[in-house]
Symmetry: D5
Subunit: 164 residues, 10 copies
């Protein structure tokens, strides 16, 4: 058993918090040995969006369902109506997060929340960065000292508060 690429699997203890198709998709992904990167390329979508689909946090298009079905060998009828329905977002994990990787993202919001607000208010006015009209990606950088950096980009439409 070599130390090959390891794949994200679905912890059995959170299955009940996710829609039923999550387990089907993760099981098939493990079976086929596919990474999210390869699935994302196949779907022509962002990796984060695809992982969000697997965790029930995003809506699939008909084309997404077709492609996932054929790539993973999961019958379309088993996943289509739920995946093309309207996701019930936000319940995959507890908040504050207890998972260390996710906690650190939360900690960034906790520590820099007001700093972001001050900078964005001065740069854009009174409003918010949308988390709906929004996309995000993860990138890898290896600097010239050989150190690996993770880079997360959040990009949302700026929405000014209405005056009424």
């Amino acid at each position: 058993m070599g130390e090959t690429q390891r794949l994200a699997t679905l912890d059995s203890s959170i299955v009940d918090r996710l829609p039923a198709y999550s387990k089907s998709l993760f099981d098939a992904k493990t079976e086929k040995g596919l990474s999210f990167e390869s699935i994302a390329q196949h779907l022509g979508r962002s990796e984060v969006a695809v992982a969000a689909l697997f965790y029930g946090q995003a809506q699939a298009s008909a084309e997404d369902v077709d492609k996932l079905s054929s790539l993973l060998g999961v019958p379309k009828e088993a996943i289509a109506s739920q995946m093309m329905g309207f996701p019930d977002r936000g319940r995959s994990g507890p908040m504050p997060p207890v998972e260390p990787l996710i906690y650190r993202l939360y900690e960034v919001v906790q520590n820099y929340g007001y700093a972001y607000k001050a900078i964005m208010n001065e740069k854009f006015g009174d409003g918010i960065m949308s988390a709906i009209c929004f996309d995000t990606k993860v990138e890898k950088e290896v600097d010239n000292t050989g150190t690996t950096w993770a880079i997360i980009t959040l990009r949302g439409k700026w929405l000014p508060f209405s005056r009424f």
Copy 2:
């Protein structure tokens, strides 16, 4: 009274949750009519870092204190020992955030937390993106439809879990 650049001020109701120098700095900033952008340029630091300094979420260097003192007209002795001390981070606002702009960042973590984890685990292995050995910035993009986008970049060192 023209509709000029508006500046971030310190809400009087959160003063008690922040170190005493926060109020001095914000008051001086308002008085001088300085934006965080101009202060950051003067200090040669990132805007978010400078706002974090104002909110007591980052440590100042001696040079930062010198420059802030002269730029804002705040006596060095009034701010140096506290600002160069070790910040007591994370208490500036409630969690979950109630402020709409900050809440949406929290919502991104809530909705995409597991997706980020899955993607980062497959890309980097078992570990976390550091929020300490970390920097972040805010940028503005206006696309060709004239829509304004806010872009937040989080960049942290990747730390693999130790095997022991």
Copy 3:
């Protein structure tokens, strides 16, 4: 598989929080391909009220049960005693809501709660707007720039505090 009207389905992970008939109704609705709009027309009731019936948040009349049973092909005896019983309201989702659409309604209450109170107190006196003797509806508006707006109307009987 065309990009036709998508239908609200019941997330498998919240089934346990709802009365047993919720699943039967949603399954039949999906099977028949019916929208809430068409079911509401068939019942002669408001769309929101009908969705609330499906989520176990409202009481059905005998006539509602008859019509739902024939329209959806669900045996009357499977749903009548529970749907005509007294709903155990308020447990369908967590509060604060984690679902983004529902959260924004909560945020309106959080941000404008005292403003509503002040306006209503001055307009109506010391009292409350009833959430029981109450109806509500959702409407769609497309303005002349082509922008789509959602409009929610809450209409409740005004109840003054008794003097005793």
Copy 4:
């Protein structure tokens, strides 16, 4: 002392949770005996928006400040920088609300949250009703039985989730 129009005042026990100008504005309003309706007319803005300004939940324009200052007799310099700054929203009261009027709005979200979501998803697709690009109003209706109804209208831009 006649039973004349009563005015909303600021409870002394929540003063510390609001920006400092809230107290000045409410004190002046009480002194002048002005209702929010008359202030709103003077400002040419919605009543709810004006009450939200008083509670520090909305940003004032320069013109708002001018008009409030002259109408209420509050020196412009005492309120301008804070009111034209960027509000730190969402902290005026506890959630869940304990105030009966505000609680009933919260209860509407608690009971009908999923029903709204289902109806809006079927009507508009996967997305949210914005609480930022948003306006709201309160109206009074007396029906033909003499019963008084309060009507709250929430109107927000529909934002579809981005596909990425």
Copy 5:
């Protein structure tokens, strides 16, 4: 299907929070079409006490078990040992209550708690009204305008604090 007397049933989603006999009793009650009023008359006990028995919040006597068994057709052995055991009270619903009817009772405690305390302290001294050596009832009043009023009476032994 006529609009006859409706009966309280047990919401399937709270079955797991109650002792096992709750479901048996409610099922039999529904089957027999019995109201709590008629069951209470049969047992010679208060309606609230009987409903509390059904929800596992009160202890049954041997005679209660005999009568319930024969009236409802539930085998005595299926319910006797648990119903005559010692109830594990207080877990039937969440607190703060989310059910609107129960919430309003909670709100009475929230709003008038200190007023009750002040009045009872002046009337009875330093002590409490027992919730153990206690009985309660619900009555209906229709006043001369035809308005229906619900009346709940709480009657508890007064217990003065011991001096030691």
Copy 6:
């Protein structure tokens, strides 16, 4: 110092959670040595309502203010605008209550909540007992064994859920 009638006073540690006039009223009541019973008689109102006025949980009429002012010797102008304003109810104590007397009322709701709901639903239909169009009183009963009982009566208008 004889063991005479003791009077409810205002604990200095909760003053900040109540409107400013609470302290003035309680101080004057202590000074004058008046019980709530005698104040209630003077005002022609219920004892609980009067205590609620003192704790800022009810609105005063102009006549209430006149009478309180003359009875207690508190200048009318010091209390009128706030007491005749719109109370910000529900914040006088923590929930769950920690005060033993108030806790036992809460415990009644916790233990008998569903029993009340079942009985009231069967007696009145689907609805709630209003806590707004509502009055309440406290009475004392000494039974023939010499035992003292406290009796609290809650009386609220029955509000059926609207059908829409």
Copy 7:
């Protein structure tokens, strides 16, 4: 069915929070009609300790398992490995307790916590009473007026804080 000694049983709704052997032991206890007093005598241990064993809050010795097995007729192999393992204490009920009997013990800690601390600090110095090197018992007292009193004794080793 006579009004004989009633026995503590295990509420079916908390079975899932306890180790699997709890149900076996309680079922056998009910079947055999044994009180904790008689089981404790058989084991030569304190009643509270034996009840704690049944609720999974204490570790059994090999001899305890032998005796429980023969007394209750539960196969030794069904209970030995778990009962002789290391208990996962503290999860049998919610805190704050909602069960009235347990709540009153909690209330004693809430009301007298600082008083105990002050007295014990003055009597013993800076330290704690151990809850580990600890035993406890329940006794019954009937005083000369015929009143029944429950007496709980907590006896723990005094542990002074180390100086380092």
Copy 8:
């Protein structure tokens, strides 16, 4: 400065959670160098009760006030009305307790709560041990190995649940 008897003092950071007389009493106690043991002897009351008086958790008699006033040199008028009023109990510290000594008492309730309930139910029937008609004491035992044990005795009237 010798290592003499140390006295319990009042932590300045909890002063605001206690009635105003707490500070006066503790300051005088420190000044006079009195232990709770000696004060209790002077008052002829239990040590725990006296400490509870100091923390505002018990009501003083006129005689208690006289004796405390003369022993501590605190003017009677400064403490009488509040100390003889009705205590607002239960707010001296947070729950769960964070203070280690108090936490261990809480832990006893957490771990042994159901065991106490089972034993007391079998011994006394369905009811509770009163925390109102209640007394408690702390004792010191030094066993024959020289080990010091703290013993807390809780003694409360047994109150059976009423049958109604």
Copy 9:
């Protein structure tokens, strides 16, 4: 049944919070009568790391899986994909911990948190001790009075906050 070495087993009531392989591993460990010490020696890893593997809090290498599989007789395919996946850490128990042993570690953080921070800041500067690039061990010390001490060592890489 002798009083031999007792082994840690898995409480049946927490099985659902852990990944599915936890139960398989613990069952096999109990069956084989193996201590964590002997398993750790077999794997050449730290005892704490091995227990963390069993509780799903650490990632296994291919070699770990091989060795565990052969030592415990658990089929490799039953555990490999999950154990070599990415752990979903942090959900094994509630926080604050209710288990007494774990609580005391939490209490150390609660009581000494700021002291550690002050010492580490002065010794290392502004930063944190990593809990990721981290190892830990438990040791036993018997001092010359025969007293047993437990020693836990936490060793983490020091990470200074980035300046940006």
Copy 10:
């Protein structure tokens, strides 16, 4: 202003949660430019213990007070009675901690809690590591790659659960 040794100071926003002497000690420490290391050497105590003294989490001996008073120039009478009193521990910061350094210690307990318990139970039996009869220290290690490691050692007496 050189980049010399920086000293831990007391954040003005937590002063109110600590005993009054904390501020005096920290102010004097800052004034004198003393590190905890040098103060600890002067007192002959551990650094962590000394920092805990400053944060009000440990009791001072008379000798500690003498030495601190002379070293820091703080009058003995200003600190002796409180510092030699009995600390009210555990309230210096919120839990879960929001401060990043302290949070990581908490995370260690969250992730490894059950692993520590399993290892310690197998090594020591059923019991706990005392946090009272306890000492702790912080050390610095620079490994041969130049990496800095922080090492925290927790050493507590092992307390077996009593059998009773």
